[in-house]
């Protein structure tokens, strides 16, 4: 049995099932990170003292990470645009750059975390560190998840392009939407944790 409405839109919603599905999933992700941001607000408002992020965290590394994720967002969009223009070679190039940007982000995060641990700055040491590691750790897991999906689409998943390029293009678009959300979350995390 064929999966319905992967290419042609549903007559009732005017959208493909994949598009509705990914947006519903993104809505749940907004609630997930929204809840943690709300926890941050409550913890900070209720605290007698709260450190300025930049006195503990490395702003230069986080700034670099922000630029990396923003760049990966445009490359994943260009990957999708290449498929719309039926250029598989360009799609693979841009998707590879997107994944490499993800590796770059995680590498920097690795150095950030290990340096904190060397200084004895563990989540249990303070409320600030607890919420910092929770928020950035969960975000990091989402980066890994997004990279895994992108790697599948770059690798074995791209076989679908040979038989149904339209469906494959839609898959890449939907995966790109998830990647943009990962970028969006970091756009808020960076100033909130590192600068304020």
């Amino acid at each position: 049995m064929e999966i319905p409405y992967t290419v042609e839109p549903r007559p009732d919603t005017g959208l493909t099932n994949g598009k509705i599905g990914i947006w519903l999933f993104l809505a749940s992700e907004v609630m997930l990170f929204g809840g943690l941001f709300a926890a941050y607000i409550m913890l900070r408002v209720g605290a007698t003292e709260w450190p300025q992020g930049r006195t503990i965290l490395n702003v230069k590394l986080a700034f670099t990470n922000t630029l990396i994720l923003i760049s990966s967002s445009i490359t994943v969009l260009l990957a999708w645009a290449s498929l719309v223009r039926r250029d598989l070679g360009k799609f693979k190039l841009y998707m590879l750059i997107t994944i490499l940007c993800g590796f770059g982000f995680l590498t920097i995060k690795y150095f950030e975390y290990t340096h904190k641990f060397e200084l004895g700055l563990f989540p249990r040491k303070s409320t600030f560190l607890a919420i910092y590691f929770t928020l950035t750790g969960l975000h990091g897991l989402h980066v890994i998840g997004g990279m895994s999906v992108n790697a599948y689409l770059l690798g074995p998943g791209s076989k679908l392009y040979e038989t149904n390029p339209e469906w494959f293009t839609n898959r890449v678009e939907n995966a790109g939407l998830f990647w943009h959300l990962v970028d969006l979350v970091w756009i808020f995390l960076f100033p909130v944790l590192y600068l304020l």
Binding site: E8, M31, G35, I70, L78, A81, L184
Partner: protein
């Protein structure tokens, strides 16, 4: 939705707009950091940082996530999500607000035990 794209000039405009947004995001990220080091008072600093982040987030949502040309159903899904988020955020925050206007419930607690007297301690 993908079948609507790829029609030459219109799609090229969309991609070029996204490239413009990319440059804008890079600039706004630099502005975010510069503004943070102005050492404004806390409330102003938070407000300014959030405004810039909202602009950046809005650009990502509108152009990278195609919300600017997306159907109303998606907006409704997102609108309901954001509305529920604010309701859920306001529930715990309202207790904090009530504390600040002085409607605390004071629970009587047991008196602490008298400390033992110290004999002959040096001045």
């Amino acid at each position: 939705m993908s079948s609507d794209h790829g029609h030459g000039a219109d799609f090229d405009k969309h991609v070029n707009a996204a490239l413009g947004v990319f440059v804008a995001l890079l600039c706004l990220t630099c502005v975010t950091v510069k503004v943070a080091y102005l050492d404004l008072p806390t409330h102003e600093a938070i407000a300014l940082a959030l405004v810039i982040a909202l602009v950046k987030g809005g650009l990502v949502a509108a152009f990278f996530m195609h919300l600017i040309s997306e159907r109303k159903l998606i907006f409704s899904v997102l609108g309901i999500t954001v509305a529920f988020f604010f309701v859920l955020l306001l529930v715990p925050m309202s207790t904090s607000i009530l504390d600040h206007v002085g409607h605390l419930i004071v629970v009587p607690h047991a008196q602490a035990a008298e400390p033992a007297e110290h004999a002959g301690h040096a001045e």
